[in-house]
């Protein structure tokens, strides 16, 4: 059986912990944009957000839209413990974006057997319980993943061996 995880059967994501300093990120995602802070003085791009620039100490920043293209830096198929809010295995990834920042996210529309370090990916967005907020997730960039391979997912060894 093909253990493909698609955006369509993903559950709604829990609402992120929104703070004064991070709200712009989740709100932009709600509008279908992946963004990051850019220092208003020296131009350093940063994520996660910070209230000041670690390089020049400027406290002002712009919010710029990113290409949404990147590569899988690392990943993990999360099997246990399980929250009723997610389908398992959760495919957790670190994505290195073209612009040079890294984000924690999920990989969707992928056969777990195809997940690898270096896989080219592009951003998509999935809803949260708050309709004004969304989360950026990633899927294999078109033409880069083998799809529909008829083999068991990488999570097929999920026996309870305790």
């Amino acid at each position: 059986m093909v253990d493909t995880i698609t955006a369509m059967d993903a559950l709604t994501h829990p609402v992120p912990a929104v703070t004064e300093d991070n709200a712009f990120f989740w709100r932009a995602a709600g509008q279908g944009r992946l963004v990051a802070q850019r220092c208003a003085a020296c131009g350093l791009l940063r994520h996660p957000p910070a209230v000041g620039c670690p390089a020049c100490h400027c406290l002002d920043h712009d919010v710029v839209e990113l290409s949404g293209r990147g590569q899988v830096y690392s990943y993990a198929l999360l099997h246990h413990p399980r929250s009723p809010r997610f389908r398992y295995p959760v495919v957790a990834v670190l994505v290195d974006l073209e612009e040079g920042v890294r984000v924690v996210s999920n990989l969707v529309d992928v056969d777990p057997a195809d997940i690898r370090v270096g896989l080219p990916v592009e951003v998509a967005f999935e809803p949260t319980d708050d309709e004004e907020l969304a989360v950026p997730v990633f899927r294999p960039r078109t033409g880069t993943a083998r799809t529909g391979t008829a083999r068991g997912g990488a999570g097929a060894t999920d026996g309870d061996a305790r």
């Binding site: 992120p16 912990a17 690392s74 990943y75 993990a76 999360l78 929250s83």
Partner: protein
């Protein structure tokens, strides 16, 4: 010189602990009180001698409750250390600094936890807030919406990259766990006393976070408390079994968080441990080869490997070979985690590694080494080197 004013000037003179279990059946405050009374009795001191308290920022025990329950007359120093378990050895640094500076005379460092039965089960999936109760991380807010909800899942993202970079397999990790469970099997205080495993057992244990962490790679959620009593080296000579704090150090780096350092450029390398090693070794003149025992924070097996490399006990990617050589196992040239570690004995958030080092240097450990003069306890970014007094 890092900590030059501290080195060798203080000592651990008492250790105490409750039993380690999965259901303590009493409050963390009660557990802490029991461990502290045991540690003071071990030191031959009384609560009237105590004038300092140190714990973790996320420890649930209120200092005021301890003072009331123990009848401590006056507190001159109290502090808490962030970074969760990575800060665990920082409580010794705080205690030593307070004593060496003369601000306090007798400082108790403690940790009480009901990681299994308490309101906050440590390994459970839980939603992340903006911060983590001042445990030294704000990264959970970037993980929780994606179902990355547990310490194992945070660590697995680092570990997969580490394994990819250096070609480390789950079997490589399993060999370390077999060694830890071997030590635990002969430690009556350990969760896995009498229960050694084979590499096949490890490989058959279910995935928690594939391809990095199986069930048997995980430390044990534990209920219990540990306390240590620190005083000045000259006063320690009047106590029954002192152990000298040769050096205590902490190295918190920008970008480094607890088990959630997802943003440093190269996650294959534990840079916090490299910085810690500079403070413990390069700046004190203590040689790695002088050590008889390593106690290394092993919440999950990959953390053990990455620390061994970060601390300089082998080169990058070579921990698998060091483990396979048997050097760190029973009878090896540099035994590590002789109580079974957090994976084999239990998880009092790292502080039970310190008490094992004290027992070894006193000559009273369950798996006593023939030679135990100098021991390192590392929690990746905080650490101590303890010496037989």
């Amino acid at each position: 010189m890092s900590g030059g004013g501290l080195n060798g000037r203080t000592a651990i003179v008492g250790i105490g602990a409750t039993e380690f279990s999965q259901a303590a059946g009493r409050s963390e405050t009660r557990l802490a009180t029991e461990a502290i009374l045991a540690a003071l009795a071990d030191a031959g001191l009384s609560t009237a001698d105590v004038d300092g308290l140190v714990s973790y920022t996320i420890d649930p025990v209120e200092e005021t409750e301890l003072v009331r329950a123990l009848g401590i007359p006056e507190i001159g120093w109290s502090s808490r250390v962030p970074y969760g378990g990575a800060g665990s050895q920082g409580v010794l640094l705080h205690a030593a600094a307070a004593v060496a500076s003369g601000v306090a005379n007798v400082v108790v460092a403690y940790r009480a936890v009901r990681a299994r039965s308490g309101a906050r089960r440590f390994g459970a999936a839980r939603a992340g807030g903006a911060t983590s109760s001042h445990s030294g991380t704000t990264a959970g807010q970037w993980c929780a919406p994606f179902g990355v909800l547990t310490p194992a899942s945070w660590m697995a993202l680092n570990a997969t990259r580490y394994m990819h970079t250096f070609g480390v397999s789950s079997e490589d990790l399993g060999r370390a766990v077999v060694g830890l469970r071997d030590f635990a099997a002969t430690n009556p205080a350990a969760r896995f006393y009498g229960r050694p495993i084979t590499l096949d057992d490890h490989q058959a244990s279910r995935w928690i976070a594939e391809p990095a962490i199986r069930l048997f790679d995980c430390c044990q959620e534990t209920d219990g408390a540990v306390a240590l009593v620190v005083t000045a080296a000259d006063r320690a000579r009047d106590t029954p079994a002192p152990v000298t704090i040769a050096v205590a150090a902490a190295a918190a780096l920008a970008g480094q968080e607890v088990a959630t350092d997802h943003y440093s450029p190269d996650l294959s390398v534990m840079t916090g441990s490299t910085a810690l090693a500079r403070r413990l070794f390069d700046q004190t003149g203590i040689q790695r080869g002088d050590l008889d025992l390593l106690m290394v924070y092993d919440a999950f097996t990959p953390m053990l490997f990455m620390q061994l490399e970060g601390l300089g006990f082998c080169g990058p990617g070579e921990a698998k070979d060091l483990i396979a050589s048997g050097a760190l196992a029973r009878g090896g040239s540099l035994p590590a985690n002789t109580n079974g570690g957090l994976i084999g004995e239990g998880y009092i958030h790292g502080l039970n590694l310190t008490t094992e080092a004290v027992r070894q240097l006193r000559g009273t450990a369950a798996n006593q080494l023939d030679r135990a003069e100098l021991a390192l306890v590392s929690a990746s970014r905080t650490g101590v080197i303890l010496a037989r007094a």
